[in-house]
Symmetry: C2
Subunit: 197 residues, 2 copies
DNA sequence: TCAGCATGTGTACTGGCTGTCCATATGAAG
DNA sequence: CTTCATATGGACAGCCAGTACACATGCTGA
């Protein structure tokens, strides 16, 4: 698991080397045992490093977990753009549902969001490196669709993001109802066509 | 703060009396210092009780916090029913937004949902006593509206719940965009009328 | 090439929280 | 009133966060 368990002794080590080892160890713990396992103590032990080093570089265990997650899983950010917003949205949202219903990803993502509620540093890192860029990308795609005349000009595109991805996050975080690809398909239809007759 | 700090000595005490004191102490900690302050240790100390007692009655500190929250704040469950689903929804969602943007409620609710991601007992309690009943109530209101012809017959009403309340929860838990009453109004319009031209 | 320094690193320690064991005071049953 | 079952409380070990201090090593200047 941790191939660099033997310490090299005290003193200074190349920063990048230790940093990479710590992130690898954190990612390993995060993916195998969940967010609760990502503590400074355990990561330091697994990386053959010292807690003091981690405290110097990361403000909280949650922030470390977030960086490890983002570095480990460079998920695709590109938004398909075939010119048909309905098809593009359906494809993108189905892919998103597949991602967050995957056993190794959904709980980890949910755990990160969960800890973010009481860890401001993790919250900031999550927003900066994950949620905000993805929101911006979706809004940009919506703007192009609106310019093509596929979306009404008078609606707030940010709201549309919440109605689609936010709805999925809701079923991930508050699992009172199932989260399936059929759900994603129906979600797109609902959002575009409306619920009124 | 805790008027019953003096212990009555060892031995058995009336269960209801202790239980109520514990819940009061837990609610106090939850509302004043947040979910992180609701630990078995601190609640037991504040209630003048013993940790062992808490372990016997609650499976986790999160479950205790949830029960304290639900018992302390018996939020209104009634759904307005004036016959106009658009007006009723707007009123209900605005009230919801007011509730979760209130300084003393929003962070607490977000904290509970956050901890629920890694606390199965809290997750179950939250679903059973909070989210599921509210979802059922909303779906019931939607069914009445649909029978009145105010909603299309072919849509999944559960999805509509996610698109409205889920969108709000999304802005509560992943605060990349502001959460206002204007937002709630626009949300209802979007959900009912759709985003397509 | 080598010495000195600044910097990052490791050890040790305190304090808080979790989860459990065991003695015991008390409410309830007979 | 006596006896018993049971809830209660104190104590304890283990894990983790966060900090203070000693020190080895990579870098810089001569």
């Amino acid at each position: 698991m941790s191939e660099t368990a033997q310490r090299r002794g005290r003193g200074r080590r190349p920063a990048g080397e230790v940093r990479e080892g710590v992130l690898r160890a954190a990612a390993g713990l995060l993916l195998s045992e969940g967010i609760k396992a990502v503590t400074f103590d355990r990561v330091a032990t697994a990386a053959g490093s010292s807690k003091m080093t981690l405290y110097k570089w990361w403000p909280s265990a949650g922030a470390l977990a977030a960086e490890a997650y983002f570095a480990h899983s460079e998920h695709q950010l590109e938004f398909p753009d075939t010119g048909d917003i309905r098809a593009d949205l359906t494809a993108q949202l189905c892919a998103f549902v597949r991602l967050i219903t995957h056993e190794g990803t959904g709980p980890v993502l949910a755990g990160l969001i969960g800890v973010a509620q009481t860890d401001p540093e993790l919250s900031a890192a999550f927003s900066e490196h994950y949620s905000a860029p993805r929101r911006a990308l979706a809004v940009a795609a919506f703007e192009k669709a609106r310019d093509r005349g596929q979306l009404r000009a008078d609606i707030d595109l940010g709201i549309l993001v919440d109605q689609l991805w936010g709805a999925c996050y809701n079923r991930l975080l508050i699992p009172d109802a199932p989260l399936t690809e059929d759900y994603a398909v129906a979600l797109v239809a609902n959002a575009l066509d409306g619920a009124a007759p």
